[in-house]
Amino acid sequence: MSAKILIVDDHYVVRQGVRSILAERPEWEICGEAGTGEEAVDAAATLRPDVVILDITMPGISGLDAASRIVALGTGTRILIFTMHESQRMAADVREAGAHGLVQKSQAARDLIVAVERLLAGDTFFAVEPDVQPDNKKAVTAAPNSSLSSYASLCFA
């Protein structure tokens, strides 16, 4: 199934990483790239991609704001949020913004292709991800040797 995909991330290396993963599907055309939320909205309006892979934290408006604006364009573009952030709340916020899927950057290799496929099929993709590891708890309760303890105490001081 051929498709036009727009990649939006303020980091060139990330865009390259996404390109190399998507290269697995030669029938998908990377129709463009954007580095900010504003650029993403403009590109979505002119390029009318089938799917936008959209980062959240970027200079200017956030990816979630950009998602809402792209939905408002009424072009039927499917939006996949692609982020470093990790929280159980994330999926709800992403849905609220009008986006259709969520992939964490750390799970790109595993989830990205599947997610784009789902979105192209008119479906959504929200992977269930256990977000806080036991390590974190150990860090915050200040295990003396934890590399995080100093940061934790810095923030909680």
Partner: protein
């Protein structure tokens, strides 16, 4: 009377050294340059009437340079004594001059001008002397211009004028009587000029208290009484001096304390400014570090993992050893991403800038609940919208700090958070059902800031934004903060 009558003036100390005269006070007063002190006008006028009346009665001349009141009183008394002063005046034997008026004629720049005085007063004396009848014509003069100068607070001019009268006595023959109200010498600083005035006279007549005493015995008793009074006054003077000194010292101390307090206030103010600046700098630094970690290093790690994942699934890595090494690398990359994420989230609240408190608080609470095992209920008003960045950050920090205290100190299994906007202020409340803060620690934190780095930090952050911060320990601990946010930022 010759010039020598008053030219052999006796200095006062010598006069005091003499025993009190046995004779009546008025007997020896017609000669020389006499000063009379008085308390009561009628006493002065009686003495003056005798002095002037005796001269006029003997055919001598009299010059009176006095205040209008004294001139009038004297005239009445002289008439009562049967003297025809109008006639004497017509003959030039009774010369009356207004003291202030006469004074103004020879005073220059606050001092009597010697030449003018000699001309003006000398002329008056000469004419009166010429008008006197009898074989040994005499002139009796009464003057209180000196008393006026003294009353004006010009003692130097008074002494100088006394000296000019003495100079005049070298060329003109007259007997001079001066009078000063004793009440004019009521200050201790008057002691020296008083002695100077006395020393310019050949005879000093004390005030009526002493003068009217008739017998030697009475006078001795009076002297003893005056000595006792002087002694008491001296003691009181010393006491007063000591009191004045104490008062001055106290005033100095009060001034020093005020100054110290002012400095303390200044330094407190500058300390507060500094702490505000430090807090802002710290926030900014944490924000920068947090975002830097997340946005830069985090992205590289994510891409690194993408690459490793791709390598892994490509099947290009052959052999157990190489596969294991690749798996290790992947695991390491995953761990790095997780640790980095926690670090950056602790340093700076995730999504606060992008999504505001409404999103960032629940995100943070999720992580907190998992880490601490504390069940946190969050109640965020649906009307909560985006607020100025400073307000959002301070609110978040207060929340973060309070929850840390709940976790570390309260022992409470639950916490309740409420966030709402009311009348242009963000109201934030964090409540737990724990053991509260022990009063001694609370007190210590207020005074010394021992445990209170967190508490004080919170309170200071809130204060910097013009808000209020309260801490209530009642069946648990409740932290409340109110942050004014009238001037909303453009983000919505």
């Amino acid at each position: 009377m010759s010039t020598s009558d008053i030219s052999n003036l006796t200095r006062l100390p010598a006069a005091i050294a003499q025993p009190a005269p046995v004779a009546h006070w008025h007997d020896d007063e017609s000669n020389g340059h006499v000063v009379q002190f008085y308390s009561d006008d009628s006493f002065l006028l009686d003495a003056l009437t005798k002095f002037v009346g005796t001269a006029l009665g003997a055919g001598d001349s009299a010059i009176v340079i006095a205040t209008p009141g004294h001139v009038k009183g004297l005239a009445q008394r002289l008439r009562a004594r049967g003297l025809d002063i109008a006639k004497s005046a017509r003959c030039g034997r009774y010369v009356v001059l207004d003291a202030a008026d006469t004074l103004s004629k020879f005073m220059r720049n606050g001092q009597p001008d010697p030449e003018l005085f000699l001309n003006i007063v000398g002329h008056v004396v000469a004419r009166a002397s010429a008008a006197a009848e009898g074989k040994n014509p005499r002139v009796a003069a009464f003057g209180e211009m000196v008393a006026l100068l003294w009353a004006e607070g010009n003692p130097d001019a008074a002494v100088k004028l006394e000296q000019l009268w003495n100079d005049l006595a070298r060329t003109h023959s007259f007997s001079l009587r001066c009078a000063y109200p004793i009440t004019g010498f009521c200050d201790e600083t008057h002691a020296e000029p008083f002695l100077k005035i006395c020393s310019e006279h050949s005879t000093v007549i004390p005030g009526e208290n002493y003068t009217t005493l008739r017998t030697e015995q009475d006078r001795l008793r009076n002297i003893a009484q005056l000595q006792q009074k002087a002694e008491a006054l001296e003691t009181e003077k010393a006491l007063r001096q000591a009191l004045r000194q104490t008062k001055e010292e106290l005033e100095k101390e009060v001034a020093e304390r005020r100054e110290a307090q002012r400095r303390l206030c200044d330094s407190e103010l500058s300390l507060r400014k500094l702490s505000g600046h430090l807090l802002r700098t710290q926030d900014e630094e944490r924000r920068r570090l947090g975002r830097e970690l997340h946005d830069s290093l985090g992205q590289y790690l994510a891409v690194l993992k993408m690459g490793l994942d791709a390598l892994n699934s490509s099947g290009a890595v052959q052999g157990d050893a190489a596969s294991k090494r690749l798996a290790d690398c992947l695991h390491l990359a995953e761990q790095s991403i997780k640790e980095l994420r926690t670090m950056s989230y602790l340093l700076y609240p995730p999504m606060l800038e992008e999504m505001g408190l409404k999103t960032a608080i629940p995100w943070y609470i999720d992580g907190f609940s998992k880490r601490s095992g504390i069940d946190v209920q969050v109640d965020i008003s649906p009307a909560l919208r985006r607020l100025p960045r400073d307000v959002e950050l301070v609110a978040f920090r207060v929340l973060q700090e309070s929850l840390t205290n709940v976790h570390r100190h309260s022992g409470s299994p639950t916490a309740h958070i409420s966030v709402c906007l009311e009348r242009g202020s963000l109201l934030l409340e964090i409540k737990d059902s724990g053991k509260g803060i022990p009063p001694n620690i609370l007190e210590a934190s207020r005074e010394l800031g021992t445990m209170g780095v967190g508490l004080r930090g919170m309170s200071e952050r809130v204060r910097q934004l013009g808000g209020t911060f309260t801490l209530l320990c009642e069946s648990g601990t409740t932290v409340s903060a109110s942050l004014p946010c009238e001037f909303e930022s453009s983000c919505s």
